[in-house]
Amino acid sequence: MTQLIQPQIVWTAAMSAMFLPLIAFGLILLITHRWARVSAALAIVAAGASLACSVYLLATLHDVQIPLRSTQTWMMTSDFRITFGYLLDPLSLLMLVIVAAISLLVQVYSLGYMTGDPGFARYYAFLSLFAWAMLSLTLAPNLLQLYIFWELVGLSSYLLIGFWYEKFSASEAGKKAFVMTRLGDVAFFLGILLLLMNLGNLDILRLNAPETTDRLSPGLLTTAALLIFGGIVGKSAQFPLLTWLPDAMEGPTPVSALLHSATMVAAGVFLLARLFPFFNASPTAMSVCLAIGAISMLMAATMAMVADDIKQVWAYSTISQLGLMIMALGAGGYAAGVFHLTTHAGFKALLFLCAGIFIHAFGTNDMFTIGQAGARKRRIPMICLIVAAAALAGVPPFSGFFSKELIMARLADHPNPLWLIVGLLGVWLTAYYTFRLIFVMLRPRPGVIPQTAEGHAHHGAHRFAEGAMNVVVLLLAVVAIVLGWFEKPISAFIVAPHSALAATGGHHAWLLWVTLALAASGVALAWLEFGRRTATQKGFVEKMPALQTLFANRWYLDRLYRRLLDDGIYRGLSRLCAKNDQKVIDAGLDELAGGTVASGRMIHGLHAGMIQYKLLTISIALGLLGIYLLF
């Protein structure tokens, strides 16, 4: 089989998968930005071709044992060599297909969602840039190339979150996302530098090799791993840098779908999976992963229990699910984490896109209002939303069930039972808050039916637009239903290069039933409180005001950061810097200028045309000359 693969064709396919969206981005910005439809068509064609190349690569290379690399030297010094190129192994192939597929679907969906927006062409240009950055990130063969595209992903998500830049909250959210992820990226970059100084190369395959990890001292290894994990925390919105993600829904809904499923936040988990053997060599780093994942998962789940904004609920659930993936990876479950990333990409995109249809139709984000306005009458998005929610809650036979099952089995193998308990609690919370939203929308509170603010008329163009949106959500719903059954082949495919790490855990038959019972009880509680005919639609959290305010205020994290910023940075550090600027730098320059002027004043008295002053100057000059010559 290996002999049949043409390296030339693989090279072409990988390059086109990587660079077609970039070409679309350039063409749209330079040439076609006036013609909205041409730009959209260009972007979609590029994304489609990119998807075709990715699928071709996956189909050709799926049983190749050795990862394929192709690199060119970009920079060389005596100490290290930096290369550019691509790396094709199961993880990058799988991620490549996910990213290309979700990008394409989101772009098709946006045809409907963004119709008539004045920035239509710009929107598609940014989506293409986003797709290019993420596709190249997945194929990066070394950490430096990965870091470059990592930053490009951050930049394009900043551009898209702040897409409606006239809106103050949107541009603020974009800035917040950029700055908070930058905080993590600084740590990531320091980690890269540390590795570069100590190892002299940043090649991912070599970093993952046991010879390399043996060469580093344990302390250094842990430090480097934790620094890189800092970048993951920022990108994947984990505790303590999680507050940017809920604000990031200020962007258009399809952008949120892309950002939350396959591109921006998935990049963090992808990096952790990419360097999994490296992280695995440091038990401390793995424990930190477990702890951070667990904290973020529970925190975000509690926030989701009281949120009324439909997109915000999904944003919190993204943080929570990413926390679960990081926990899985931290517990050593490579296949479990990556498989959950895969299924999550599908159903989270579906959740956001369905929510987008409702938001587009009713012009509001509030789930109670959407319910009252008649969400249940829209059959297709409602059914798809329920499918996706069931997948998120871990209800069989949807995809989320299978991946969560894998993760729980992995956590059960961990010697510390605390993590399993935390994981199960997370499962219950997820089922509860997901179905809270579903029941609120299915059983609207009796009340005044608000006039739909936008009232999108149903003429021809809009029918096409809604058709595009519906087709996309139906496709994704099918994926959410079917993907779970491919658990075995996908896991086997991913684990292939890491066969040493794929320790088979014990079989836990009881765990399956416990997980199922917890998910079911979460759904049942949601039904009791929100779904019954006589339900008060008040959750048990809302009956405890203290908890309610705590969760609704996001555990006061934003408040705390604001306080730190105001007191620590603005009042402390910035003021000292301002003082230094005024009193030392400015005052020093002023003194220098003043001194020059004053000495000029002193000397100009000598130029009064007086013979005696000239005599004085001559004798002083001669005296000084004499001193100079004699000594």
Binding site: G609, M610, I611, Q612, L615, L616, S619
Partner: protein, 97 residues
């Protein structure tokens, strides 16, 4: 017993600076010229001291020349000062423009 050369040179240097000081600071042309005379005498003193130190007569000869030149210079200078006074009715160099 000979006076050491350093003492003589110190005296000559002191006189020279007094002369400069007088020539530069005084606002009277006669005093300025007096300062120049002091400087000339300081130089002559240095020559005499040097001739004493090396037992050569040329130094003393030069001192005699200096005295002669000083007398000539004073006569020319005083004549100029009288002319200036007649013309400007003042001896302040700042006002003689």
């Amino acid at each position: 017993m000979n006076v050491p050369l350093t003492h003589l040179l110190t005296l000559a240097g002191g006189l020279f600076f007094i002369g400069i000081w007088c020539a530069v600071t005084r606002r009277n042309l006669i005093m300025v010229m007096l300062g120049i005379e002091i400087m000339l005498n300081a130089a002559a003193l240095a020559f005499v001291g040097a001739s004493l130190r090396w037992q050569q007569m040329e130094g003393q000869a030069v001192a005699l020349f200096v005295l002669a030149i000083a007398a000539a210079e004073v006569s020319v200078g005083l004549a100029l000062i009288i002319c200036i006074y007649r013309r400007y009715r003042t001896l302040d160099p700042a006002k003689v423009q």
